[in-house]
């Protein structure tokens, strides 16, 4: 575990990522801005990322949180692959949240892969900030 009393005082580091070819990033950017305004350090990968490039961003940025945004319907495939990659690379301590047009019944499937929480359309950003502040640096994938 990387968690120590010292790094609980430093700001949380968040990577917001857009997997695949989906270009709809209004939500991703609004979330990135809200998290930054709440005092977190946020990196936005930009669109067209692969699971490998997202993993790379998590490792390089030493991220505490990974937010994956998908509006293309391919959330199950990308999230499953990312969970595997995070485990293989010993980064399954990252808090992994997914947002976008995710049908509610897919949320359970995503959690089965190891995703910690799923936020659907219309979620207030304050709720994200609260969830992330409460859970980051305290998790490990199941």
């Amino acid at each position: 575990m990387r968690t120590s009393a010292a790094d609980r005082r430093t700001p949380l580091k968040v990577v917001i990522a857009k997997p695949g070819l989906d270009g709809h990033d209004r939500g991703a950017k609004v979330v990135a801005r809200a998290l930054r305004d709440s005092g977190m350090e946020v990196v936005y990968t930009g669109i067209y990322q692969t699971p490998e490039s997202i993993l790379r961003a998590v490792v390089q940025e030493d991220a505490d949180v990974l937010g994956l945004s998908s509006l293309s319907g391919a959330h199950l495939e990308y999230a499953e692959e990312l969970c595997e990659l995070l485990r293989e690379n010993d980064r399954d301590d990252v808090l992994f949240v997914v947002g976008g047009t995710v049908p509610p019944e897919d949320a359970e499937t995503l959690k089965g892969f190891g995703v910690h929480e799923v936020f659907g359309p219309g979620t207030p950003t304050a709720q994200l900030v609260e969830y992330i502040s409460r859970h980051a640096r305290r998790v490990r994938m199941t």
Binding site: G20, L21, R26, A28, Y44, S72, G73, A74, T101, E105
Partner: protein
């Protein structure tokens, strides 16, 4: 403009006195519901509008008559009293045969034109067998690799009678050539083909985010398609300039008009710079607007955009053919206004937005389905959306008179305000060096992101009420709508078809066609369309043709700014 008469002055004094005494007294008793009233673009909305608010407008030169310059009241004299707008729902998923079946269903349901959504690999110029992106094959649109797929997509559809709109951008040149080749191989001549390729690459860099190449070669490729269209399929619109995505990405109505018309000017000015007569291309430029919730602002927006475009093409571009001045438009209700919560409320939202599009004078309309905040629409949801348009057309009477909002003090005042503010934005972009420069500097992306953020802040502070989301919330809402699920096995079947096409084609011919494109591409003034058509005929794929151009022109890097 006539000088103020004595009667005007007396009227203004009376309005002022009414505001000071009657309005103030009423607010004393019942304060305003909101601290301030504004349009979605942030313009203040007054208590009331009177003749004083439109005194600066000339009834003949600013408002005019439908079918006459500057077309504020509509592009046709008789509008829907003659021909109703085209009911055009976009559809696309799975393989070509899946979408072909849906087209036949839609035509049976009462739709009068076709519109294609492609899957992400096709939209971004990759073949279905791409190692990483193959998982997105057929997911949010139909998978098209070669002209063989296009033949299946339009099987049994009379291309000489039905117009087809294709939502395709960076590889639009390839899909346009494919459409022409399908018709040609079926014996249908180019001059009867009608429809549209979206092909508006500039809004991709600033809003929708489907781009491949850098802005300059991309804009020149758009000019190529416009010139090719004028030559071989003169009734087809190769370019459909879009406000829709700009708006859905967060822009206000004014920004939507300003940025969209700036984009349209950019294409035509590059064509003029290449020595092409503007009147050869401008008549086939069409537009696509997003119709959002603020009812009067949206109807006024369409009226303002028509007037501003007529003035810009005539006065700035020097177009002489009246057809060049016409802003013919498709509208879609605002996808971004749909809520995942209480999804049946979306039927009401969509109906009201559709009404604004009709009152604004649209030529064709897509009404969103109630389930689209969660997935691509199911057939039952689409049926309600299509029927919404039929109800507006046949039951409400709004289509029985031309421009019923014309002359409304409020709507004319809003129309004039939107025209002025959008023109100011266009001039700001001109001062930066035009739209290519505003893309490269990141200005336009930032403008839209900032507006999106402001709207989010308003929702979270409850300044903007979204029914079912931050008010009228059902605590224990359970969802009872059917969700469309991907067709299983699409990717595997599409890979087989692509492999089969590649096995049966003449490889030497493909290679020669691709080489010819590669050789010609560095000269941005060279029209690539005839060469792209050759490659399509030889069964070269979308991915192969785009790969050649990637090799020559490189990639545009996505923005990481937020």
């Amino acid at each position: 403009m006539d000088p103020m008469t004595g009667e005007d002055k007396r009227w203004d004094e009376r309005v002022e006195a009414w505001q000071r005494e009657r309005v103030a007294a009423d607010y004393e008793r019942i304060p305003p519901r909101r601290p301030e009233y504004t349009t979605m673009s942030g313009a203040p909305v007054k208590d009331i509008y009177t003749s004083a608010d439109i005194r600066h407008l000339s009834p003949s030169e600013d408002i005019g008559l439908p079918g006459e310059y500057p077309y504020t009241r509509g592009v046709h004299a008789t509008m829907y009293r003659g021909r109703p707008w085209t009911i055009r729902q976009v559809a696309g998923f799975g393989q070509a045969e899946d979408t072909n079946n849906r087209y036949k269903y839609l035509l049976k349901t009462g739709q009068t034109g076709l519109s294609t959504d492609f899957d992400l690999p096709t939209l971004l110029g990759y073949d279905s067998d791409h190692e990483v992106y193959r998982r997105e094959v057929g997911r949010i649109g139909v998978a098209i690799d070669t002209v063989a797929d296009m033949h299946v997509l339009f099987d049994g559809i009379p291309l000489d009678q039905i117009s087809t709109s294709m939502t395709i951008n960076p590889p639009a040149a390839v899909l346009l050539a494919m459409y022409r080749v399908v018709a040609d191989e079926r014996g249908i001549p180019g001059h009867v083909l009608t429809g549209t390729t979206q092909n508006d690459i500039l809004k991709e860099y600033i809003a929708q985010n489907e781009f491949i190449f850098p802005p300059l070669p991309s804009v020149q490729l758009v000019v190529d398609t416009m010139e090719y269209g004028a030559d071989v399929m003169p009734r087809f619109n190769p370019l459909n300039v879009c406000g829709y995505h700009i708006r859905d990405a967060g822009a206000t109505a004014v920004e939507e008009v300003g940025l969209t018309l700036s984009n349209a000017l950019c294409y035509l000015e590059h064509a003029i710079e290449r020595g092409i007569d503007v009147d050869r291309l401008a008549p086939r430029v069409s537009f696509f607007w997003d119709v959002h919730n603020n009812f009067f602002e949206e109807a006024a927006k369409l009226r303002a955009a028509r007037r501003l475009w007529a003035r810009l093409t005539r006065e700035r571009l020097g177009a002489k053919d009246p057809r060049s001045w016409l802003m013919r438009a498709h509208c879609q209700t605002a996808g971004v206004s749909l809520t995942a919560q209480q999804p049946y409320n979306n039927v009401a939202r969509t109906a009201i937005q559709a009404m604004a599009a009709v009152l604004g004078g649209t030529q064709s309309l897509h009404t969103n389905s109630l389930d689209e905040a969660l997935s691509i629409p199911s057939e039952s949801a689409i049926k309600i959306a299509v029927r919404t348009q039929a109800i507006i057309l046949h039951e409400t009477g709004v289509a029985d008179v031309v421009d019923p909002l014309g002359g409304s003090y409020y709507v004319e005042s809003l129309t004039s305000q939107i025209e002025q503010d959008a023109l100011a934005l266009i001039e700001r972009i001109d001062a930066m060096g035009g739209m290519v420069a505003a893309v490269e500097s990141g200005y336009a992306v930032q403008l839209i992101s900032d507006s999106a953020w402001e709207q989010q802040v308003k929702v979270e502070s409850d300044e903007t009420i979204v029914v079912g989301v931050n008010d009228y919330v059902d605590e224990n809402e359970t969802r009872d709508i059917e969700i469309d699920r991907p067709v299983p096995g699409v990717m595997e079947r599409q890979l087989e078809r692509l492999a089969e096409v590649k096995r049966s084609r003449e490889d030497r011919q493909v290679t020669a066609a691709l080489r010819a494109i590669e050789k010609a591409a560095p000269d941005l003034r060279h029209n690539l369309m005839p060469l792209i058509e050759d490659a399509v005929r030889a069964r070269a794929s979308v991915g192969e043709i785009c790969d050649v151009l990637r090799g020559v022109w490189g990639h545009h890097q996505p923005s990481t700014v937020f």
